[in-house]
Point group: C2
Chain length 372, copies 2
């Protein structure tokens, strides 16, 4: 057997599963590292089932692979640094550091000249009144680290509420963000190869409910040439700034601006993203294919889209196959359903936007039935 | 964890690998049974590595799965019969019996009213002169069982050559077939669900070299409404005749006929087929998705094609990623390259036939370089 490259993935959830499914046809086998014995990616990868601080297991993992990547950005930095001494980690640690901390992330975005929500570092010495004065009320209190799917954040209306909310977080570092009056939510999913080649999908338009992504549509119905051009600028500037390798997702708000609309950066995800799952069916290269190619040093070509695509998340429950509309693809993650949990998704691909919207409506009736 | 259905596959080659890759998003996990410790499907399925006559291992395999299917028709009937006592086997044993024997296969096709090449059962008492008289010379001598990729067959010009050739086969049962003066080679890939629902892809046009499939194009450039209509008839008649469940491939010759052209059945493959690999990218449902759906009792919807598609086999060697034309998908099977061995394939999907042919030409230069 010719020695084939091996990709290690920290985390063995659905993102790792779909990455491993994309890697196999490229001739690449994946190892995943996840303490969960029923991690979804175990079905198509070698599973290293151990804790993130089990250094012996981490060494065995690092020795088994050529390159290490990750499916979530909240992986302990100590774990990543330890591994980085053994094998290359992509995207690099600097990208991870930026994305793990909402304060660093927003400061970084601003330093590159892009708009973000107003924010303040909510250090203990800063009064709630002053903080709210800086960003405007109501505002969103967030932990600086470890938030996802709307977890670790809450809306506060005034200084009293903010005082009470801050008290519940103990010594956790916090950030207070102003609320952006957005027209739409979009994401920019781009990929950069080690040689600097960068490509991206058109803007993707997202709908959330209860803080969880429900649907994504690509290309974004709200997109304009000006927004796409700004998205190009954001993607290439951010990727180049950190010498990024792999898929990067930038979540943005579309806000009204003089003479049209513009993009305000909400957050970065240094990884494949839920809003890009439609690309498995909807594009010549999926985001998983791209990420694997980039981190393994394979060539990156621009995507061609197969018409309009939409993603509908399956949250808390899975529909029976017979209930899924004709022509809609299903992806089941092999996870135990529970309220609010992403257990799969549906992908719709059509050649016209009217059919797309109609099918999204039909799919929406199937999805998230058990959402609390 | 909700109990999820498990599919067992006899054989763990690339067909099983691609079947398992298609099964995972459907919420189905696969077990594969293959004595080869580096069987390609081990990457995305639980691998039972044991001989086909190891009854203890076969029982363990049967107990681990809900339904059993296979990726090749030359599996020992004793093995299949043994398993069938434990779990349902689909496609059923009667289909397998028909397809394992070229004599039974052709007799079956004729009994349904379809054309085949002329053939005779080359029993020891039949003289070579009489046999050649029956089918015409030159003719093709084939073993009745266990042939694939042109193995177990040879062309004979006259009775002396046939005598010599027969002697080399010892007691193996043989068939002599007349040579069909074909215009094109095509395949009909269809799928039937347990409830009788049947769908198929348009005719696929195939090119062989040295008895091995090199390229397939879908829809077949040679197709006509009359040929598609005859293909419908062949697929539904054959599938219904044996109460078939799963994907069936019928390889046919397109031959000149009064008023146009017609189809002559060459052989059946009771499984997914090399000439259908383009469907992973080229259709809304791949042949692997269809086969898994059918044998697991899921709904079968008609395929929609994404324009023109072509498959180019990678034989004996694999091209570097950088040498693959832009927009062409690669599937590497994780097999050790050796001359004449299928180690992967490329898929081209385009919206126009001119680009398709141009890209096939570019791909052909990459493929099969080491073919003897």
């Amino acid at each position: 057997m010719t020695a084939r490259p091996v990709l290690g993935i920290l985390g063995g959830g659905q993102l790792a599963q779909m990455m491993a499914l994309a890697a196999i046809p490229l001739g690449i086998q994946c190892h995943v590292y996840d303490p969960d014995p029923v991690a979804p990616a175990r079905l198509c990868a070698i599973h290293h089932c151990a804790a993130y601080d089990d250094t012996a297991a981490l060494v065995r993992f690092a020795e088994a692979v050529d390159v290490i990547t990750y499916e979530f950005e909240n992986i302990p930095l100590s774990c990543v640094s330890f591994l980085n001494a053994h094998k290359p980690i992509m995207p690099g640690i600097s990208a991870l550091q930026v994305c793990q901390d909402r304060l660093t992330e927003k400061t970084f975005a601003r330093s590159l000249g892009f708009a973000t929500a107003p924010f303040v570092d909510l250090v203990p010495t800063l009064s709630s009144t002053d903080a709210l004065h800086a960003v405007g009320a109501p505002a969103i209190l967030k932990t600086r680290r470890m938030g996802y799917d709307g977890k670790g954040q809450q809306i506060v209306q005034n200084a009293e509420e903010l005082d009470r909310a801050r008290a519940t977080y103990g010594t956790l570092e916090l950030i207070l963000e102003g609320i952006v009056p957005f027209l739409h939510e979009v994401s920019i999913i781009s990929v950069r190869a080690p040689d600097g080649t960068t490509v991206r999908y058109p803007l993707i338009q997202n709908t959330h409910r209860h803080g969880i992504l429900r649907t994504s549509i690509a290309p974004a119905p709200c997109h304009t040439a000006a927004l796409e051009s700004l998205a190009d600028q954001i993607a290439s500037t951010v990727l180049d700034a950190v010498g990024y390798v792999g898929v990067l997702t930038v979540e943005c708000f579309v806000v009204a601006a003089p003479g049209g609309s513009t993009l305000v950066i909400n957050e970065f995800a240094p990884r494949v993203h839920n809003s890009g799952h439609w690309s498995i069916e909807g594009a010549t290269h999926s985001q998983f294919d791209y990420h694997v190619r980039a981190v393994m040093g394979l060539r990156i070509d621009p995507p061609e889209l197969r018409g309009w695509s939409a993603l509908c998340n399956l949250i808390g429950d899975e529909p029976a196959d017979n209930d899924i509309p004709v022509g809609v693809a299903v992806h089941r993650y092999h996870k135990t359903p529970r309220p609010g949990r992403k257990v799969g998704h549906l992908t719709i691909t059509t050649t016209d936007h009217a059919t797309l919207q109609h099918t999204i409506d039909a799919c929406s009736e199937l999805t998230g039935i058990r959402i609390p």
